[in-house]
């Protein structure tokens, strides 16, 4: 058992509460940096993909996990990021400018969506965002002169100050680049959470009525959270464009939006780590399934759709038995060992919130 004595207010402001988790995360970072020297290019590509999903997951996590709004159409903002990134590069802008601008445009799209829908709650918001997701997919086709329609867009390889980060030519370089971007976004995310902005998100998530009574402007806060969330998701979309080289309206369809949401729920809503765990599952589940199939059923035919079926089943189990997600389960296991033998089963028990009716707002 470890007891932490806090000696200044900064103890609650720092990224890590004490040296032990700080060292663990440092080790994780060093491992991530060393990864290209350990595994082959195929797996490095998979890890790059995981980081991209994790960025998208963080974008959605900010919205769903930290400000309590559902979005079932977030792939639309990935699309905005991907298309604006490539179109800007076609106009001659370098990647180092087009990427943040892509985030900016996605954020702007988020504001345009959030403004008229700030009065919507829970389910209705979810439905509106589904509609946005479906509309975006068709809009890409309609705007064919800019988006290339169904034939899609080709993403040029990234070049920064003469260094080329090609998807196949410089796999480790692309990985390191995206790792760096991921780290920056994590830092920004943590800063949001420890500042008044993060607390206003938390306030509108848990009780709109008392958020207002505390002086939080709900419409404004929701719009900001939407903008930031969409900007992060847009950046992941831009990176996804470079990663998959060619993308079309199908790349960012409604199923991807739903996947994103399911992903962060499995990982654990309300934890940045949850976005990474969810991303790992989405990325590596197909490989795990094909490996275990090869191992156990030597001559079985490929079953199409098994990934999403498995994914759905895992999700149902997670929600039924671990509403806090896989990261929440990990927290419980960790405190079991830290507090051994004093851990009690009800330590994480929450008071059940009995049916808060949506018909009464």
């Amino acid at each position: 058992m470890r007891i932490i004595f806090k000696t200044s207010y900064d103890a609650d402001i720092r990224y890590f509460s004490n040296r032990v988790p700080a060292l663990w995360y440092l080790a994780l970072l060093l491992m991530s940096i060393a990864l290209p020297f350990i595994i082959n290019e195929f797996w490095l590509g998979e890890f790059t993909l995981m980081l991209i999903w994790a960025i998208a997951g963080m974008g959605l996590m900010l919205l769903v996990g930290h400000s309590g709004q559902a979005s079932l159409g977030h792939a639309a903002f990935m699309a905005v990021g991907a298309y604006s990134n490539v179109i800007l590069q076609e106009y001659g802008l370098p990647f180092i400018l087009s990427l943040p601008l892509a985030g900016f445009f996605a954020g702007l799209a988020g504001v345009l969506v959030a403004m008229p829908t700030t009065k919507l709650h829970g389910i209705y918001m979810a439905i509106a965002t589904i509609a946005i997701g479906v509309l975006a997919e068709d809009l890409i086709v309609i705007l064919a002169p800019w988006t290339g329609g169904v034939s899609g867009k080709f993403a040029p390889s990234i070049e920064i100050f003469g260094i080329n980060f090609d998807r196949y030519g410089n796999v480790s370089g692309l990985y390191w680049l995206i790792l760096g971007i991921t780290c920056l976004i994590v830092l920004g995310y943590r800063n949001i959470l420890r500042s008044p902005l993060g607390r206003s998100f938390m306030a509108i998530r848990d009780s709109e009525i008392s958020a207002q009574a505390m002086g939080v402007n709900i419409a404004r806060t929701r719009t900001i959270s939407f903008a930031l969330s969409c900007a992060i998701t847009g950046i992941s979309g831009a990176l996804m464009g470079h990663f998959s080289l060619v993308f079309t309206n199908e790349t960012f369809n409604i199923v991807i939006s739903i996947y994103l949401l399911l992903m962060i729920v499995i990982g654990g809503l309300g934890f940045i780590q949850g976005a990474f765990i969810g991303a790992a599952i989405v990325t590596f589940l197909p490989s795990v399934i094909s490996f275990s199939r090869d191992a156990f059923f030597s001559n079985s035919a490929i079953i199409p759709g098994i990934e999403s079926g498995m994914f759905g089943a895992i999700l149902i189990f997670v929600i039924l038995f671990e509403p806090m997600g896989l990261y929440g389960r990990w927290l419980k296991i960790r405190s079991y060992f830290e507090l051994f033998p004093f851990y009690r089963r009800d330590m994480f028990r929450r008071q059940k919130s009995y049916l808060k009716t949506e018909r009464m707002r």
């Binding site: 919507l120 979810a126 439905i127 949401l261 729920v265 199409p304 929600i319 009716t357 949506e358 018909r359």
Partner: protein
């Protein structure tokens, strides 16, 4: 004439949307849960009927397999609530949405694994028959859809207004606590509502399959039906039907008079407009929360 033809096909499509939407609304009214798998339940109902009827599978007479499929879907609905949804009592609405989406994924996979991913058609006695009247070609299948929907709506109305079980279900949905103290088994009522919407999903599925071919992703139609339910105002059965008809009628007219790509997005455009200007649907049932 042309417009009338479009109207008729729109009506029959709208009835299917309306039926799926009614399934949503039933469950929403009872437990404020949104069943995003309703479209997939419809797909499953259609496939079960197909599996029982078609020659290559069980080859049962159509009129035998229809009630069997309805019963089976009712049982599946009951089981879903009893085994999964009931365990989630007290979790947020969004968690329920996510679980039902996941259920949809699983249902699509199961249907694909059993019946394959190729489109198939139901060998239904009413499929493809035409009924010509004053220059209008009206499919018997389309007519059938409209008639069954009207009959089912009437039956549901009588069920909720007149029968003891229906009234108990309504009571359980309006005030769970009070209903519980009055001795109504609220949990079983929820499961029964799920069973009922399973049956309705089966009917919608059979009607849909009579009009054309189905495949495991047919359930994605549920999103459109869901739009219909929201346009009508969640929580209102007539609203669901109105919303369904509206979406159903808008589609063929848009397809005829507007350019193809834009026509396809009309239902969603309609949904966004309704949500922006009448956030709780045409027949809204929302009141202010008291603090």
């Amino acid at each position: 004439m042309d417009a009338l033809q479009l109207l008729l096909s729109g009506l029959s499509n709208g009835c299917v949307y309306g039926l799926i939407a009614m399934g949503f609304v039933l469950i929403y009214k009872a437990s404020e849960a949104i069943n995003f798998a309703q479209g997939d339940m419809m797909m499953l109902g259609a496939f079960i009927t197909l599996g029982l009827t078609n020659e290559q599978y069980f080859d049962l007479p159509f009129w035998v397999s229809v009630p069997m499929a309805m019963l089976l879907m009712g049982a599946i609905g009951y089981a879903l609530d009893a085994l999964i949804l009931r365990k989630m009592f007290g979790q947020s609405q969004i968690a329920v949405v996510i679980v039902t989406i996941a259920l949809g994924f699983v249902a699509r996979f199961v249907a694909g694994a059993i019946w394959g991913y190729e489109p198939q058609s139901l060998e239904s006695p009413i499929a493809g028959l035409d009924f010509r009247f004053a220059g209008l070609a009206l499919g018997i299948d389309e007519l059938m859809v409209i008639i069954v929907t009207i009959a089912l709506t009437g039956a549901l109305y009588i069920f909720f207004a007149r029968t003891k079980l229906g009234v108990a279900m309504q009571a359980a949905s309006q005030n769970q606590m009070a209903a519980f103290y009055m001795g109504i088994p609220v949990k079983r009522m929820h499961s029964l509502v799920w069973a009922l919407s399973g049956v309705i999903a089966a009917i919608a599925g059979i009607l849909f399959a009579s009009k054309g071919s189905i495949d495991p992703s047919t359930g994605l139609l549920g999103i459109k039906a869901f739009a219909a339910a929201v346009i009508g105002g969640l929580g209102s059965l007539p609203g669901a039907l109105i919303g369904g008809l509206l979406v159903g009628i808008v589609e063929p007219f848009a397809a005829r008079y507007i350019e193809g790509d834009i026509a396809r997005i009309m239902p969603y455009l309609l949904l966004v407009l309704v949500l922006v200007f009448r956030p709780h649907g045409i027949l809204s049932q929302v009141q202010s929360k008291k603090v």
